[in-house]
Symmetry: C2
Subunit: 442 residues, 2 copies
């Protein structure tokens, strides 16, 4: 009900009622509806909202949508909205805008602008690019009561008050106190007595993949970021790395289809980027396919006398490629998730050998049937035997290549479906003609 | 240093020093080292630790490793360790053990055993299966000071004290107070005045994918779970759904290689499961490949007179399949992440048409060169022209199929690399022979 009403209002424009309605809704729900109305309605709507509410709703949208709306507002209004956002969100957003526009806005933002400017100096795919500067730091000799007083003053503008960091006089990170400790220990306790020492922190230039791995391993909600002298610079919250994980998965999925990693989202990538990320693999795979051409050329004689053998080339090599793709995909993913370790290779080999034999027997029967139907019993025999051999062999190639690549310290994802398909094709043809020459006594 | 020392100690067994060393380390780091030593050392080590420390370290391990260690300890010890775990972790672990063993342990666990038993009754892939029963609930008329007192009593045994839930006399969920609000508002404030109403909660039977989507959309750390009468039953924390996201990604990656979704991790899956998840697609794809066989059979005459045309069958159909796999993979992933919407189909079509033309031209030149080298200028012309046409066409098939499947309310992931390859092969052969019959005037 609520949602239909808001959408109607956004389309028909009843400014005051809208604001009241929106205040009671979750910003993520408002953002979801907002994105469905025309851009000019989005702009008018954000323009009429109080700055803090506008900031909360915009932060739930995709960066490019946010940037598009803000670039249509008066710079003074945009600067005020940016001042209501967390520093890391504001920095990400400003990075989306044309440079001159961004610098003008930073100048209008005052103190917060200076903080954001500092964040923009870090590489976007490092700890520095992910962190926000909103955190609470206290000294070891303060009492929990003093900390609580500080929190009551500062917390409303703090992205995460779940952890309170403890720093030395030189601002070096020496400990952490969780909000839970804070509310469960007596008020007169001194911070130094209850803080957790050995805080795990990220260096400011740590790659974002490593940051995501730290969150995953330790189950953190927040991770502090420090410079080389261990001085506390900012904090990364778990929601900042969820996007990183999604980017990593997209990269893995693309690799499995022989597409080179790209920084942009598909919709933002230029035609040249898409072309460049694909052509190198496609050309490389042609070289592998030349082996297949060579194999066929070498067996030209038997093909011209038993032309029916040609009919089954796509069937046999495709089935081999598909089988190999399946086992390669399973093993690559299991290695990435840590579900299978390098030491498990023997176990996986036996497993895939058995699975391959069963798959080969079933598909081999299908091959005998199809071959006989179209080319007679001898062709049926050749196709059936080839099918069994190709399936077992391709299954092992697909399983083994990821292990071999990892052993060679290469990315196992190079064992992509297209590469496995091309390799299985060439070996499959060799098997096919080896069996055919024996059966037809060529 | 620390890590080498612990590993040595685990192998050489100095019980007392080990415990002291481990107390200062993060449980995730201890777990990582522990998994590298032989099982009997793991068992002896866990057996010598205090129960709470043992529980913390075990919770950082994979479920199957945890279960293996615990099944070698005395049931009384295991029950004590389980009692130190969160209810959801204990339930997951008991579900891994043989049923009679699990029931015996639950009986030994006392009160907590009863709670865990209730959790085990929920389907493992629903909210109920993910939730823990550790939460803090207060009434609307309590003051923040009373809540703080309650927290100081209860929090140490609570999985997440980040949110305090507000319930009515009938235990129905009516609001939520964040720990931040608690520490930033005056102590005499009444809960009802500062609580957030309209709490977003998950019904106890909600599918885990939907649960993960709620966390992602709203950026929650904790999500309350309610029954049909809105009574609060438990809470799900964000780390419980990280595993769900990983399972979903594995499913997506498997689908892209034509493997049916499976519940078990690869290493735990039986040979029959692996066989079953793969044979259905492989058999189905053979049917698609029969079209390719049919096409070749129909053009038997031209093949037997220009046998060189056979050499390029794998090269051409593989390149077509690879191109189609690339565009299908990109579009499927972009649709899944929401990066591309259904309404963008026109934009994507134009993009892929242009990318396909450029890819086709480059690969076409390679085709002319290779064809001429092995079969003369006429074959070179046929191979080159076919390459251009196949690449452009396959690229569009790969791009369009995910949109069409989504429109038909089917999973776009069905447009897997193997299916696209098989479809592109059949159409590619048709293009090949159509061009060949014209060039050779057959």
């Amino acid at each position: 009900m609520e949602q239909i009403t808001l959408k109607q209002m956004l389309l028909e424009d009843f400014s005051q009622e809208r604001v009241a309605l929106v205040e009671d809704m979750h910003p993520a729900d408002v953002a979801e509806i907002l994105i469905e109305v025309p851009l000019e309605n989005q702009i008018r709507f954000i323009d009429t909202l109080p700055n803090d509410l506008a900031a909360m709703i915009l932060q739930e949208m995709e960066l490019n949508n946010e940037a598009e709306i803000l670039s249509h507002l008066a710079p003074e209004k945009t600067a005020k909205i940016l001042n209501q956002m967390y520093t890391d969100e504001a920095a990400d957003l400003l990075a989306e805008l044309p440079e001159t526009e961004a610098w003008a806005l930073i100048a209008l933002m005052g103190d917060k602008g200076k903080k954001v400017k500092k964040l923009l100096a870090y590489e976007s795919d490092t700890s520095g690019g992910l962190m926000a500067t909103e955190f609470i730091a206290v000294y070891e000799n303060q009492t929990l009561e003093q900390v609580l007083v500080l929190l009551r003053e500062k917390a409303p503008s703090t992205e995460s008050a779940y952890y309170i960091y403890v720093v030395s006089q030189e601002q070096r990170l020496v400990g952490v106190v969780s909000l839970r400790t804070l509310v469960t220990k007596p008020l007169e306790t001194v911070v130094g007595d209850v803080m957790e020492q050995d805080v795990i922190s990220a260096p400011v230039d740590l790659d974002q993949e490593e940051v995501a791995r730290l969150f995953d391993k330790y189950g953190f909600l927040v991770l502090p970021v420090v410079d080389q002298a261990q001085r506390l610079l900012g904090v990364i919250t778990v929601d900042d790395v969820l996007g990183v994980a999604e980017e990593e998965v997209t990269e893995d999925i693309h690799k499995a289809a022989s597409i080179l990693p790209m920084k942009e989202a598909y919709i933002d990538a230029s035609i040249w980027t898409l072309f460049g990320k694909r052509i190198i693999w496609l050309l490389g795979l042609i070289l592998v396919n030349l082996v297949s051409s060579g194999v066929i050329a070498a067996y030209e004689d038997i093909l011209s006398s038993v032309i029916a053998l040609t009919f089954f080339i796509p069937l046999l090599i495709d089935t081999g490629g598909n089988t190999g793709s399946q086992s390669a995909t399973m093993v690559v993913r299991a290695l990435v998730t840590g579900d299978v370790k390098m030491a498990d290779w023997g176990k996986v080999l036996i497993k895939e050998l058995l699975v391959g034999i069963f798959l080969g027997l079933v598909l081999g029967f299908a091959g005998v049937f199809l071959g006989t139907a179209r080319g007679g019993t001898e062709v049926g025999l050749v196709v059936g035997l080839t099918m069994v051999a190709i399936v077992i062999f391709s299954n092992i190639i697909g399983m083994a290549l990821p292990f071999i690549l990892t052993k060679m310290r290469l990315d196992p994802a190079v064992a992509s479906s297209p590469l496995i398909t091309s390799i299985c094709d060439a070996t499959g043809l060799l098997i096919y003609f080896a069996i055919a020459t024996r059966v037809f006594k060529f």
